[in-house]
């Protein structure tokens, strides 16, 4: 029982990332009908937004501290971040410490801008072309984006820590009546999970309860009729692309403390996210979220020692195996709509 809960918890954070990326992919596919291979790159750019903000906040200038001396007896030179000058030392420290959560505010406008530019500048011209062309051009774009990031940030992973308050782990088991030290869970992963739930909830609420969302849903169902009603559906879909980019970017921002970002992390996640989307059902938003969590948890179950001893290597292939079985037995995916990309 305790092992079961532990594996579910372990699967949640990866599942959250899958669910968020798959949600964005499905938003783009459902609205614009474009298969976006550059979505992983958007996740990666989001992660580098966090890195960038951290670098901006820790920008320093050197001052000579007369009160302290180094081992030669000269006055010590210390680097003082500009943030200290503006907010004072303690507040400045707190801001730097909280740079990753703060990066959410920084990333939202950046990601929406990136998404809108991408849609208007490139993807707009590919609506009428075959899906293979869309895959190819976004694949090329993904290469370009990750190479640009590599040029500016180098090829090595850049560790960026979570705030001090969320470092370390807590004993989840004692809260629900198990013996201590059985179910230990890192704080940040719980934060990530809650964050993902909030974002997913916000996206669904936005689509369900706002007029804008209603129009977008109508457009997803029948674009032409909505256009005939005199609504500029293209502009709304562009905004949805920006929103999907922001969702992917936020997933990236918050993932930074779990896994130091490098330039190819997007590609690593992209392949899996596509599998998630296909399992959930092309064009189905709840399907994408459900499949994301499901596959994340399945993956962590498959990496249990008992399972690996039983079927060696299953932890490496479980997601792909599930995808193959689903595609062959239930081509529409778990919650796919009828008539959406059935061939």
């Amino acid at each position: 029982m305790d092992a079961l809960i532990l594996q579910i918890l372990n699967g949640l954070d990866k599942g959250s990332a899958y669910a968020l990326i798959a949600l964005g992919l499905t938003l783009i596919f459902g609205t614009l009908g474009v298969v976006n291979f550059a979505h992983g790159a958007l996740f990666m750019i989001g992660a580098f937004c966090a890195v960038t903000l951290n670098r901006i906040l820790t920008l320093s200038h050197t001052v000579i501290d007369e009160t302290r001396t180094d081992f030669l007896g000269k006055p010590l030179q210390v680097d003082v971040p500009y943030v200290y000058d503006i907010f004072g030392e303690s507040a400045g420290n707190a801001i730097i410490d909280w740079s990753v959560p703060l990066a959410i505010l920084f990333a939202i406008p950046v990601m929406i801008a990136v998404g809108v530019i991408m849609e208007r500048g490139l993807i707009k011209h590919f609506y009428k072309r075959p899906h293979a062309d869309q895959i190819l051009v976004t694949f090329g774009l993904a290469i370009v984006l990750q190479e640009i990031i590599k040029y500016f940030y180098g090829a090595n992973p850049i560790p960026t820590p979570a705030p001090e308050a969320f470092k370390g782990s807590f004993d989840f088991g004692t809260m629900i009546g198990f013996d201590p030290n059985i179910i230990i869970y890192p704080y940040w992963r719980l934060v990530y999970f809650c964050f993902a739930v909030v974002i997913i909830g916000a996206v669904f609420a936005f689509l369900q309860f706002t007029t804008f969302g209603m129009v977008v849903r109508a457009g997803m169902a029948d674009r032409e009729t909505v256009g005939l009603l005199g609504i500029n559906i293209d502009r709304r879909f562009t905004i949805m692309f920006g929103l999907a980019a922001a969702v992917a970017g936020l997933a990236g921002v918050m993932y930074v403390p779990i896994n130091p970002p490098n330039y190819h992390m997007g590609m690593d996640f992209l392949v899996l996210s596509f599998v998630v989307v296909v399992v959930g059902g092309m064009g189905s938003l709840p399907g994408a979220v459900l499949a994301g969590f499901l596959l994340g948890i399945l993956e962590s179950f498959a990496s249990m020692r008992e399972v690996i001893d039983f079927i060696p290597g299953i932890n490496q292939v479980i997601i792909y195996l599930v995808a193959i079985i689903i595609l062959l037995t239930r081509p529409r995916g778990l919650m796919g709509r009828k008539g959406v990309m059935e061939d």
Partner: protein, 398 residues
Amino acid sequence: MFGLEKKDASLLILVAVLTIFAPFILNPFPDGSALAQFNAGYPDLMQRFVIFGIFAIGFNILFGLTGYLSFGHAAFLGIGSYAAVWMFKLLSMNVIPAIILAVIMSGLFALLIGYISLRRSGIYFSILTLAFAQMMFALAYSVLTPITGGETGLQLALDDPRILSMASSTDGNIPVPSLFGMEMRDSTQLTVGAWKFTFNVGYYFCSVIMLVAFYIAIRIFRSPFGLMLRAVKSNQQRLNYTGLNPRPYTLAAFVISGMYAGLAGALMASMDPLAGAERMFWTASGEVVLMTILGGAGTLIGPVLGAGAIKYMENILSKINGDILHTWFAFLPDGLEDFIVTIIYPFIGKGWHLTLGIIFMLVVIFLPGGLVEGGQRIMQKLRGKSADTDSAKTEPAE
């Protein structure tokens, strides 16, 4: 000639002449000159040109003709490499049995994967092939280590059985792959003035195989079978309505292109007897997609051109560094020199992938028919508009 139309025969002869004289053509700059770094006429790179040419020709039979975009083709390349190295370990260092086994093995795997994947089409087919390839990569990397060598890759060892030949060469080293005594790594050098040309046994062996592969591809393109594959691409539904089942045809195309990939993998292992799981990674599958699209999917010569262009960029462009750029632009005033070097610098050396990505995007956006279509357009411009009716040498993809 060879049962080909005149146009195709002349294309084949052109390719044959180019590959035979490649050591000269690719080495236009004298040794030691400033431009010598653009020479591609060294055996290692030339071998890669033809091997990836084979890979791309095979991929094109699937993608160019049927329109099925496989994102997991590198899996067959990896299988071919593993099979070939196992043949070197168990049987002998002769490359012929290794190649035969590699082609058979990759064909079998392609049959299995194709049978399952081809039940779906479009994006689902891409994802299925990708999933299979990633699965095979993950297994080769971890659980199958006794067969694949895991992270270090599959290597030859002195105590391999090699039942048909000696386990070690006369001087006690691991023997090298050979064709009835001709070692693949043997080269002769010809020095003409400042030029140095290298003729490598392995390269010519690969070229002969590539020419055969190219010939078979032409025959497939021009056969009723090829026509059927084109019909699959242009409208599968219409094919169904005429009472034909497209699946056996697409499956045959998938298996053939898988065997081409296996052949390429076996040749890679023959040139350098080593096989690693990274050959099966999905970026390797992406690379062959890039090659085919860049050259021109659905054309005969396109994939070979694309493979050559990408491998040339990978090897030559990535070698240029900042210092070399500075010497090139040294004639400019200092400030301007620095400015130009700073602009160009991100696109060369380690950043060559950026150049590749940009070129690839431009090709997909403006030239869906690849370099071949570009060449045709230029030819048409030169000939004037009257040439419009004259359909060009190779038909671009739809």
